[in-house]
Symmetry: C2
Subunit: 156 residues, 2 copies
């Protein structure tokens, strides 16, 4: 089954696709959706690109990092921007009838690195190791691949 | 031209359609999209229903209330929920290539009632008056109609 992980952001949304079965994980594709312009253009770009990736790779599930807001540093502007990007992604998955799964940032780190408070570099390193990539993926793509791997570990 | 106003919310999204020309405003339709279930289902419902309204009524523009967060009471959870709903609405307008306009809550109240700090009941009353409705619209639908009227006042 193909698993599409997504790291949402209003400026950069990372995506990462893996194929998973009981015996192995294979890297398929990853990258970043970079948006520009005003809000409607940015959000529409995310929707359109995610829908295109879904149509091309037919994932069985879309995995997205659960929105996590630091309670000690509330930032409603950042929250609403992240919400816009997530709304576009969830819509794209929903209208294409793709199942969705959510994991917290700590669940993803713990699944991939073994510790819930791992640094971003460690996540990227483990993603590269497990998927046997010749070089480290771009940071947002690495987080997206980590989300996909986390789901694979949970269901297989 | 048809103007579609929307009052976004993850549980209830109000919508209101008016036809506007230089001489008059006519009420076309209004109502609420009520969502249920888990997050993906809620957000997808908003996207699907808004897209259906767009296809049915072919508005020239979609008007949405600008997200306003009270800086003295930051609530990131509420912000992200609102962001999800807005992301679905913006995506539905964007993929259907409908122009978007945003106004702040105070701009909408000021345009419709004459004062930026009018009560919700005053907004509803003025919407009913201007559009010659036989009864007051439901609250979220009234806010959506007010957003549509605000845009009509600004462009005509």
């Amino acid at each position: 089954m193909n698993i599409l992980g997504i790291d949402p952001g209003s400026r950069i949304t990372g995506f990462g696709l893996i194929a998973a079965d009981k015996l192995k994980f294979n890297y398929i594709a990853s990258g970043c959706i970079r948006t520009k312009g005003e809000l409607p253009e940015r959000i529409t770009t995310i929707f359109v690109e995610i829908e295109q990736i879904i149509k091309q790779y037919q994932p069985a599930v879309v995995v997205i990092e659960r929105a996590f807001m630091r309670p000690d540093r509330p930032n409603p502007d950042a929250a609403i921007k992240l919400g816009h990007a997530r709304g576009a992604i969830i819509s794209a998955a929903g209208v294409n009838k793709i199942e969705m799964a959510e994991y917290s940032p700590n669940q993803i780190k713990k699944a991939v690195v073994g510790r819930g408070h791992a640094a971003k570099e460690q996540v990227s390193f483990m993603v590269q190791e497990v998927l046997k990539l010749s070089q480290a993926p771009q940071a947002d793509a690495a987080d997206a691949l980590a989300a996909a791997l986390c789901h694979a570990y949970h269901i297989l």
